[in-house]
Subunit: 262 residues, 2 copies
């Protein structure tokens, strides 16, 4: 009878952990708060309490130098199934999974992606567990043996099934602006910071599929995948299938940031 | 670890039961099949087996002359949380709730609704448990003490948070055509059949909000609400707040159908 199960009525976060320390903790907890606010669930804990709980979970798995902490808050259990709800006690589910961040030599091989029409709702900035559209796209990527599905909404490239997207053209990095059509990725923010630190221009503006296909470089980003270069989209090579220089600079900067920030 | 809880990765149906008999059983089981097909879950049972299980559940609650049988099939439990999936055993959840179909004298008082922008995904014909948008609208209706939220997508009236919508103008009934923007309601189909039986013209065509506001009658329909006349939208009266004659004819025909079909 949990509304997470009956209605997908919940919010989640994934915290990447390196050497026992959480990257982007404050940003993830802030986004959790914004997600809960967006769907009117009262956050059961403050940031201090969440930090303490997450850190406790991390210590149970110290054998894993890298962990992904999954945290879900659903609206809770009701007495009967009805679309509306009264005051309920939120359900909290957390788990730690080992993960292995990809190595630079692996990433330099380049990954592939396919494009699909973005059929998701118009509130993609809320990190909800009502994820059916996203998981259907992820499954399609798996079935096509590609890394990701790139989503196109009315001609505009938004993001991917579970990652943000960047392109590089003439030494400038482009990514879709924040708003209702993309998830405001924490890794996306870190990458933008890295670019600024490396004196590479970043433009948060919308671009279409044609721009994507003639980009010098295309990357995707997420907390557990970090930043992955895409060299083939819909069976067409990007930049002749070569991973770009800008990606390499940003990748190195991201790795440095990991050790500084955590 | 059920994907119903983690991803809203499931399909559901609600079967209305009158005097121990299910209205629209075949249609509901057909829609269940189509929903499972749409998201690639193998239907765990055939129609005969489902019928047997549902009828068994009904007998446990014979004290209730009217029941709503809720049936949910999620993709099942996986070993770890990942967006993609391999072959899993679907999880089945069912429950019977007593319900009381509204009386004609109650319905003749007329109900109110509000309009909102339809922010849902573009596959609303799949009856999925990823229902966050729908339940947020339902909660908004509750907070405004109205029966429903009427959804408008790019100027076009689609349906409501958990019901289909009809309008009557110059003795013709209009409702949004089937397709990706509405759920193909079983009650919607029965109403269309009733209208044909009563020699009332039905047009399944899209109409805008302006047409809605100047309609002679507006109704909503669902399996448990049946057909409810709406006489006030966004605080503006429809047909001077009076329930219309066509509604009365269709309501009576629907009640007759209930006793014939089940």
């Amino acid at each position: 009878m949990d509304r997470g199960f009956l209605f997908g009525d919940g919010i989640y976060e994934v915290f990447p952990v390196y050497n026992g320390l959480i990257l982007g903790l404050e940003s993830h907890l802030q986004r959790l708060q914004e997600g809960l606010d967006a769907i009117n669930i009262v956050n059961p804990y403050d940031k201090k309490k969440w930090t303490s709980i997450i850190n406790e979970l991390i210590t149970y798995h110290q054998e894993n130098s890298e962990q992904a902490i999954y945290l879900q808050v659903s609206r809770g259990c009701d007495d009967d199934r009805k679309h509306t709800h009264g005051k309920l006690k939120p359900t909290i589910y957390m788990q730690s999974s080992p993960f292995k961040s990809p190595t630079k030599s692996d990433l330099l091989k380049g990954s592939a992606a396919i494009t699909r029409t973005d059929i998701r709702w118009s509130q993609c900035d809320t990190k909800t567990t009502s994820l059916l559209a996203n998981i259907m796209f992820a499954q399609e990527a798996k079935n096509h043996s590609v890394e990701e599905v790139i989503l196109i909404r009315e001609g505009i490239v938004t993001e991917c099934s579970s990652s943000n997207l960047f392109l590089v053209k003439n030494n400038c990095i482009y990514t879709h602006p924040k708003g209702p059509y993309i998830l405001p990725g924490i890794t996306r923010e870190i990458i933008i910071d890295c670019a600024k630190y490396c004196d590479i221009k970043v433009e948060e503006i919308a671009f279409n599929k044609e721009s994507l296909m003639v980009a010098d470089e295309v990357w995707i980003s997420s907390s557990t995948r970090e930043v992955v270069p895409i060299v083939c989209i819909d069976d067409r090579l990007i930049n002749n299938g070569k991973v770009g220089e800008t990606w390499s600079v940003i990748y190195d900067s991201y790795q440095a940031t990991k050790s500084i920030r955590v």
